[in-house]
Amino acid sequence: MAATFHETIHVALSDIKLQQNILTATNRFNEKRREIVAPEALPDYQELRSAAHAIKKHALDRLDSYLEMLEGKVREHGGEVVWCPDGEAAVHAVLSIARENGVRLAVKSKSMVTEEIHLNDDLEKNGIEVLETDLGEFIQQLSGERPFHIVAPAMHKTRGEIAELFAEKLGMARNDEPTELTKAARGVLRQKFLEAGLGVSGANFLIAESGAVVLVENEGNIRLTTSVPRVHVAIAGIEKVIPRAADLAVFLKLLARHGSGQPLTSYTSFLSGPRRSGEINGPEKFYLLLLDNGRSRILADAEKRQTLYCIRCGACANVCPVYRRIGGHSYPGTYSGPIGAILTPQFQGLGFESNLPFASSLCGACGEVCPVKIDIPRMLLALRRDVKEAETRQEKWRWEKRAFQAWSWLMRHPRLFEWAGFFGRAFVWPEAEGKWIRSLPGPLNAWTDTRDFPPPAEQSFRRLWRARQKQRSPGNGKSG
């Protein structure tokens, strides 16, 4: 039976090595990000964030028109658009494109959307070999795991573990030097790039006015994936649309800084269709797969629509005290970290993992670093409301609802509130004597397992205040 979310968290928290790995990696990311968005490095940082938010809002509030514009332009430049209502449709589309073009081997660049639709599994089942070409994804594919982090898929693995993996799966002599490991991967994958009949990519941005996909990377595998094979298929969520190429002047200044602490990644590709006449290389065919898979539903929720502004930089995960302790694999669903906590309930339904929106102290670090200013804490609160409303309708967790109703009632009756405090003081914990409490009953022992709990004060503030005021103006019994 699958572990519950709480069990998963418990396991992650007990894994010291994991904790260390995540901390080291995220500390590095955070340090570099802080440096590169500091006023000396990026004086108009806050302005850029607001501009990015505004562009996304504009685009998504008019998504229908921009999608039509995008489609028209892609076709104008010789590409084809395939509309995919869900993951199954997208996988089906890739399969038929592969079959049409006699593809036996496909190379793939890192794409969260392809994780979402489980593309690789289905291609393999249908006899098409698929290679992940991003080094981190390649490592994860070899070990049969899903990515640990949006930007650094193998962040949790040590060089020793990777060396073992390569020795086992690639027949390489065991060597844990990163340069040697990288060289081995380069060699294996270079061959595949040259042989593959199909290159599959995601997209960081879709440019409506140009009919283009924009992709950023450091390794060069995306350029190879989209330039060498005869067929290029780009799969993207419909929410990736931005109006114009010029809008990239805002987004490109934010994406790499937040994702990997660089002013720009090594390569940024702006691709608009198959190779044109006169051009020497490039794909002969280009397909853009537009994926809905629940995005239109999120779009319909005006309050939570901003969830779709996400540019998948991973900065929120890097600062999240929860993510940094439990890691990407502890999150149910495709997406992890704070963005995962608000996407997954909206993609998979509130009941998929109803604890997810509550697995946060609402510290707000995520919203503070988000380059497109998604108010993640606000989204979490909205989802908590949705979960409780649904549970109330389904009559689940009734005791909790009753408890809060009782609490609410008590809080509206100050004199009763005072009496409750008095009784608590006088009768419930007589032994407390002002010492902090070491053990509480029932579910509250989740506190006292590791912390002491404050005893009720000998006298409440309101009592002390009354006494204080009396002392100052004897005979005046009024409060205040």
């Binding site: 949705d386 405090g421 902090w436 506190w447 912390r451 503030f461």
Partner: protein, 250 residues
């Protein structure tokens, strides 16, 4: 009677919202806050009808229940020009979320929106409204300051407590590393995700201990409850104090 307020603000009438935690568990914080405000030259009132801001229900997703409590708050503080609270998270609740729990366009929402402009966190009030930095306090010891998340990120309060602490005679302030990390309280999170909450607390305590300070200071009673709970369990001799308690000492 000493007074640190400018002449024009002298006698400024302040309505105390002490919060439910302070009322029942940490009354000394409320008294200290009143002392400091009076010493500065304000006149304090305490409306006995007050209880809670409703945040526990709101953060748990129970909007109706939160609204009921918020309604009571609005009634209690009707007509108050200047409400001061020793809790960053409660101030944030009132300033940013009260309006949300009421129907759009309703009278209650309007009242809540108007009220939002009149509620202040204690240190914010001293610096930004009363314009007082030195309240004549004295505290012999080293102190480290914990930035509570709501105060820091929702209210933008970072400088005010530090400025106030800098004027306390004999007090030495040491910043912790890492700074600005959550203590792990998060309301019911502290119990529902207790293991995570404790793990976060452990990180915070390590940072505090590493400063070598005698005391940790915060402007949020819930953070203080969490931090003190951890220090007490570990039997560490570090005091946990609300800013008001430090400023009240002379």
């Amino acid at each position: 009677m000493r007074g640190y307020l400018s002449k024009s603000l002298m006698g400024l009438r302040v309505s105390l919202f002490v919060t439910c935690l302070v009322d029942q568990l940490f009354p000394q914080v409320g008294l200290a806050m009143a002392d400091v405000l009076e010493r500065a030259g304000c006149e304090c009132e305490f409306r006995a009808e007050q209880t809670c801001c409703g945040q526990p229900a709101f953060n748990s997703g129970y909007t109706e229940e939160a609204a009921a409590v918020a309604r009571h708050f609005l009634k209690t503080f009707e007509g108050a020009d200047c409400i001061v609270t020793p809790s960053g998270s409660c101030c944030s609740m009132i300033r940013h979320h009260f309006a949300e729990v009421f129907e759009e366009g309703s009278r209650e929402r309007e009242t809540a929106e108007r009220l939002a402009a009149h509620v202040y966190e204690f240190s914010e009030f001293l610096l930004n409204v009363a314009q007082v930095e030195d309240v004549g306090a004295r505290f012999a010891g080293t102190v480290t300051y914990h930035d509570s998340c709501h105060a820091l990120r929702d209210l933008g309060i970072r400088e005010q407590p530090r400025r106030l602490l800098s004027k306390v005679r004999e007090l030495q302030l040491r910043e912790m590393q890492p700074a600005e990390e959550c203590c792990g309280f998060g309301g019911t999170f502290s119990v529902k995700l207790g293991e995570l909450s404790s793990d976060m607390l452990a990180g915070k305590i390590e940072a505090i201990v590493n400063t070598g300070a005698d005391a940790v200071v915060s402007i949020d009673p819930s953070c203080l409850m969490q931090i003190r709970g951890g220090l007490s369990r570990r039997e560490l001799p570090i005091q946990t104090l609300h800013l008001a308690e430090v400023l009240a000492r002379t």
